[in-house]
Symmetry: C2
Subunit: 245 residues, 2 copies
């Protein structure tokens, strides 16, 4: 790869190309979550580029939390199984900042079919099989989040209420371990809503109480949407944290 000149209309830096190759190896399962990938020098010689170029590709993936660098140890494939990373997508924290114990109670797990909205979200045919989970998240003994989760059935064959309970409600960890689906990114849309009777009862509130509604779509490699989720949160003692730069 000593040819550096490039007159093509769509110029792409070498490190971006390396990044694509690395991502393909991740998708292809050459390196699994939690495992160490080859050293920078090994990768450089494999792809016939300099260490610095591999380094930039890895930097980029590390910035997206797809890889994790550990000085002196190596570079690892990120995983949702680790403690500390488990709640990566949970931005809700206690107002007083104290540490909390999270528990969750499965309300139900059913099969449904995609309506127009869900088919558009998941980019699948209307009528395709879906799995739907409802649960209650409790912090320090108090019910705080009413969660409604929808996923396409095809990639999660065999997922049912028993499986969810076996995994203690760690959905992302379960997707990864049991189905090889790793979520790398999510988008959330927040609004304020009034509690309806179903939710009010579950959270032990009056109907009409204000709740923070968090609608989330999670994506796996290639920006493929794999989970839709609606969390209705009581924010009397908690808030959603967001950093702006």
């Amino acid at each position: 790869m000593t040819d550096k000149a490039n007159n093509s209309p769509s110029y792409k830096p070498l490190y971006d190309q390396i990044k694509v190759l690395l991502t393909q190896s991740l998708i292809g399962g050459e390196w699994h979550p939690g495992e160490m990938i080859p050293s920078e020098i090994d990768l450089a010689s494999r792809y016939k580029v300099s260490q610095g170029t591999v380094r930039k590709a890895i930097d980029s993936l590390a910035g997206e939390n797809i890889l994790i660098r550990r000085q002196g140890k190596g570079t690892f494939v990120a995983t949702h199984k680790e403690e500390g990373i488990k709640l990566r997508f949970l931005r809700l924290t206690a107002a007083n900042g104290q540490k909390e114990v999270l528990q969750n109670e499965l309300l139900n797990c059913t099969k449904t079919k995609a309506d127009i909205r869900m088919s558009s979200i998941f980019e699948i045919k209307a009528g395709a099989a879906l799995i739907e989970v409802k649960r209650l998240l409790t912090f320090s003994g108090r019910p705080l989040i009413y969660d409604h989760i929808v996923i396409p059935a095809a990639p999660f064959k065999g997922l049912n209420g028993t499986r969810v309970e076996e995994n203690k409600g760690s959905m992302y960890s379960m997707y990864e371990t049991e189905y090889g689906v790793r979520m790398i990114r999510a988008e959330e849309r927040l609004t304020a809503v009034a509690a309806n009777s179903e939710v009010a009862e579950a959270l032990n509130l009056k109907v009409g109480s204000p709740l923070l509604s968090i609608e989330r779509v999670s994506y796996t490699y290639g920006d493929k949407p794999m989970e839709w989720r609606l969390g209705l949160c009581l924010t009397d003692d908690h808030h959603y944290m967001s950093e702006l730069e």
Copy 2:
């Protein structure tokens, strides 16, 4: 700077030290918002380091939106004045994604004194002078956000309702242009609340309607808090966007 060995307990990379020097020049006013800073090569020779090291320092500042790189042109000090950057901290968007016209109506601008809460937020003495602004933000003709803004009076001497209206409510742009205070970062805490009578009237709602409460603290260089803000938002047709990685 050819000595590279370092046995001191608190090791700091060279590019971090350069970053501090660059930041000091920004604080000191050597380069003003919107202006171009010296080229990487010039800076490298000024600090007696290689271009790559200066580059890494600038990369870091660019990542924090403090500097802006423009290939072929130069590196510039970020500003809140530019169109497109103006609403950098506004994450509220229309549900249908359409472009909107923002207007705002000043309700009042008064002087008060810091209570314990504000003194702790701004790290100043209780009783210190504050300026308080209340306003209504309107998108496409519909009142959507009831804003309550508090800033310490000392750095913003002379700020009053007239000034605010002269600047058409672009607070960040005004802070920067008229007082040399550039906000570089903010933290937001979101909750759902019920509208009280004052807000309900301003937003033309029923008392008790759910509103998205956005509490924001904005920071200038050195992580110094310079503005507190509480926005109460109607989220019938809008939502707050958040990206998780």
